[in-house]
Subunit: 271 residues, 2 copies
């Protein structure tokens, strides 16, 4: 039994979809969320910039006495995970490896698609992890640079010609490649799950990155005897490097519930 | 005759549309362009963050011996111009006031629309400047948060249902308000000029921010005897705080010509 909180961070508010998964899968745990809203988006930035930002994010989170860290940002997980694991004396879980294991478990034809930000796709990290776990897999990666701004502007609903047109363009080549499993490799994408499922049809299984890393964290905490168990309902504290004026709207969209506490602002440049 | 260069900066590469205007309107001048690509987008950030970034951008540009500075960023012009003018002993031109003067010159019914980023619209700076110049004007502001990502993903062409649908949604309320003049208050928007003109029809005159500030700068340099005249063809040096992998593509899109020199990288946090 360990009541110390779990730290979660992302480039912005997209990581709140991982918070939502953690609250479902580990309801007794306290969470500290940091969203680097002053420097969002990370996707597209250079590797050295990403590592610098990720180190600052972790340094801030570790001002709390944490028992584990979940990197809810696909871009950081694919570029900086190993450095962060080497530098920190507590478990650091990314989104890539758990997601790849799940994808390989569900694929039948060994053709796995990956959609993510440009930086994540270009890093080749999903592809490398999938191949390491199963050299026979064929991986089809596709950057979807417009998905994040479209989600953040609420274009997530069936019947919206804008999101449906963009999603069809992005997904068509993957469907032509015959993938039977599709990794949603960015925390924003679970909000597009319905749209993506409609376009892909029942022959493609969607694997959502945030959810798989929450399951991974659960296994890891259990194995090490670090879980906060029992009837207690964990609490979540929210920190952001800048408070967008429409913070509540976006946060509620990602959490799919109304925020109880406002987010506090952190000057991340000081970490 | 003054051969010192003009400094130009923007949050990213959108300000290159202003460089394009400057090259047409002041072809003999040397230009130093800084695009803060590591921290783009500025739109949506808090006022104190914007001022901090703008001061760093100016400090970097002033490592060169400049004769004037053009703020090609609508968001900075609407939040930080007065502070930058007070702090610097050289002419600093923003995009707001020249654009507003032009809009008031062309409007007949005194109903002027403004489209810009969320931060620019919320700052109310265009509205305040228009009213100061003509208290009888009616101003209709509208944030267009998806225009920047759509432009940066090349969705600028007629017949693209995505950009046309989004543009129609953004512009419809302004047309219903009966504006006869529309300020394109963000440097990215000139790339959407055709799309916007198609939707607005011939009854609405478009006024482009970057172009008007280039004319303003020309008048100002002439009045102070600071122009580089004659047959010389000015050169432009490009600096960015981070080099996006697709820099050439985006830069060529904004400049509407191929880049001759690659951009050099600047660590803007050091300024």
């Amino acid at each position: 039994m360990d009541l110390r909180p779990i730290g979660v961070f992302d480039s912005g508010l997209g990581g709140l979809t991982a918070v939502r998964s953690l609250r479902e899968i580990l309801p007794s745990e306290d969470l500290i969320y940091f969203g680097d809203t002053a420097r969002v988006p990370y996707g597209g930035r250079a590797r050295e910039t990403l590592l610098k930002y990720a180190r600052q994010d972790v340094r801030f989170l570790r001002t709390f006495d944490l028992k584990a860290i979940l990197i809810a940002c696909g871009t950081v997980s694919t570029t900086s995970l190993e450095a962060l694991q080497a530098e920190n004396d507590l478990p650091v879980v990314g989104v890539v490896e758990p997601t790849c294991r799940r994808a390989l478990l569900v694929t039948k034809n060994k053709r796995v698609g990956v959609i993510a930000t440009l930086a994540s796709i270009r890093s080749g990290a999903y592809e490398a992890a999938l191949r390491r776990l199963d050299p026979a897999v064929q991986v089809y990666g596709r950057p979807c640079p417009l998905f994040v701004p479209l989600v953040e502007n609420g274009r997530v609903n069936r019947g919206d010609v804008v999101i449906e047109t963009v999603a069809r363009e992005y997904l068509r080549p993957l469907l032509e490649d015959g993938v039977d499993t599709l990794i949603l490799g960015c925390t924003h994408y679970p909000l597009l799950q319905e749209i993506i499922a409609d376009i892909c049809g029942p022959g493609v299984t969607l694997v959502s990155a945030g959810e798989e890393s929450a399951f991974e964290l659960k296994r890891l905490l259990k194995a090490r005897g670090l879980r906060a168990e029992g009837d207690r309902r964990g609490e979540t504290a929210f920190y952001v490097s800048e408070r967008p004026e429409n913070f509540e709207d976006i946060a509620s969209l990602f959490l799919r519930e109304d925020l109880h506490h406002a987010a506090r602002r952190v000057d991340i440049d000081q970490y």
